[in-house]
Symmetry: C2
Subunit: 319 residues, 2 copies
DNA sequence: TTGTAAGCGTTATCAA
DNA sequence: TTGATAACGCTTACAA
């Protein structure tokens, strides 16, 4: 492995001069600089990151942690993160391992973007106490050294509900997902709008799934057993809505003629299936997360929760 | 940051003893071992990876490089890779940057799995010459120090074609993708089977897309301008097939009654849309890639090309 | 403008 | 069974 010393020897200068050239410092003569750069190219020199990190204490690497592989939108978030990170010359480590704690250490990564529900709040708080910079996505933690980036679910879900009522829908059913702040916000918007319009929902018209397609399929099967179908099924995400659409189709229940249906996320599948839903700008939130993280790594001390807006996409699954 | 020295001081032993404990060597008294381990826990010690890597020259990190964010199956490959890597206590870096060359260096990563078409063969050959271990996915490079992992496209595409003919299809159209070995294999199977059955395909029934949904949509639009629709449109991947299905639906051309359609990849969307396609076991090939890579890092010298089998999924888009 | 030398956290060698 | 010491590749005062 060719190192800084080999370059120095070949160029007939000292290692520190080579280092100065490589780091673009100006205390180097033009002639020397040219020569050193030339030799680096010739010898195909690449700096040893470990040596550099060990000395500077800065790895120039950020980590993104996630775990739910079923949801395609992670790819878009990753693209947003990597675009920003590479533009700032940071490296990106993607960790899909619950035991990511050991990497959350300044000697290994400069900071992380956390989107894995399996990592506990208390662990994040401990790391934050060590001044390790963290951006929490889809989880609100209002403490120093952690900035939260959450989606505003409530406003668009309200907008969606108001739109449904405008379109004449009156008898609503709801299919919720796994307990989380996102889930609660979506359901609260559902309930608030109905209450405001004095439209009661019977207990039996609440269903609960796990955000996966299958659970939507099953919920729709159950729903079809009731005597009067509701006008519309509001789902806490697209995957479940799509499962429900499949069940309806298999049983000759037409969408949107017999029942309307809508989701949340605006997945690729929703686009193809014509599902009315709420678009979350995933690329953008990945990009923003990386930006906030690197700004905090660079010394900005911004720990205010940032709420991203999302907006309704009306499609053919509602009339 | 608490280091090995801090532990040593607190435990009243030398740094080397702490190192020996941490690395599970047996030249340490039981009492000492217990004490050191206890203190490590108390002080929440995590080893500094840079120091370790610098000394040992082994980062215990592998890299996965990819770039096409449109195709959901990357998530499955990542899951396969990460499952194997973490089981073997390797870390995983995911690089989405064309300029990944600087990370392909033993001082930074122990090896890489390359699935980015933008990285040139010649660059890979150069790295291989430096004995940097590489697993090339979807690209065949039969040279020492690079092992290729490719999908056998030919056999399942033939099987698909034979099945279509059995089902009574006679007049074929083909929609190809971006020039690559995968693409050529799929098309060759298409042509070979037709030739064998003496079924000619007119030049105008060959279309070319870019593997994206939109290009399938556009190709189908063109296809619908021809006087007699073919019986079936064979697409080089699912995304394009789905675009075509959308175009047909919008124009009142029924699938499979008026035209059959099939793809390649078995994406989530294909499942929902009932698209006949070829299933590529993505989780498994990610897992295998990681396994071969780590085995080669550990000294196995296996550079034989491995061909993964894929199999046909018959669904409702063909009769 | 360039060079010398110390030190980052770890491991490995060798001596005690 | 333990400890002292050198070394990995790099950066950075500080000296020349």
């Amino acid at each position: 492995m060719v190192g800084i010393k080999d370059i120095a020897k070949k160029a007939g200068v000292s290692p520190s001069t080579v280092s100065n050239v490589l780091n673009g410092r100006k205390n180097v003569g033009e002639e020397t600089r040219q020569k050193v750069e030339q030799i680096c190219r010739e010898m195909d020199y690449h700096p040893n990151m470990s040596g550099k990190a060990l000395k500077t204490g800065d790895t120039h690497t950020i980590m993104f942690n996630f775990s739910d592989f079923d949801r395609e939108f992670y790819l878009k978030i990753i693209r947003g993160i990597s675009d920003y990170a590479y533009a700032k010359d940071y490296d990106l480590i993607i960790c899909t391992n619950k035991s990511c704690e050991k990497y959350m250490n300044k000697t290994f990564t400069s900071g992380c973007i956390m989107l894995d529900v399996r990592c506990s709040d208390s662990m994040l708080l401990k790391k934050a106490a060590e001044k390790y910079p963290i951006i929490a996505m889809d989880r609100r933690l209002e403490v120093p050294y952690i900035k939260s980036l959450v989606v505003n679910n409530y406003t668009p879900e309200r907008e969606l509900m108001e739109g449904l009522i405008e379109r004449g829908y009156r008898r609503f059913a709801y299919l919720g997902g796994i307990e989380s702040e996102d889930n609660s916000e979506r359901m609260k918007a559902f309930q608030d709008v109905l209450a405001q319009h004095q439209l009661p929902v019977r207990r039996e018209n609440y269903y609960t799934g796990d955000y996966r397609e299958k659970s939507g399929y099953q919920a729709a099967k159950l729903l079809m057993l009731t005597e009067n179908l509701p006008d519309v099924l509001v789902c806490a995400n697209d995957n479940m809505a799509i499962g429900a659409m499949k069940a309806f189709k298999e049983n000759g229940v037409r969408v949107p003629e017999d029942i309307g249906i809508c989701g949340f996320d605006n997945t690729e599948m929703a686009k193809v299936m014509g599902l009315t839903t709420v678009d979350i700008p995933n690329y953008e939130r990945g990009y923003l997360a990386a930006q906030y993280l690197i700004e905090n790594i660079d010394g900005a001390e911004d720990y205010e929760t940032f709420r991203i807006t999302a907006k309704v996409k009306w499609r053919s699954s509602t009339r």
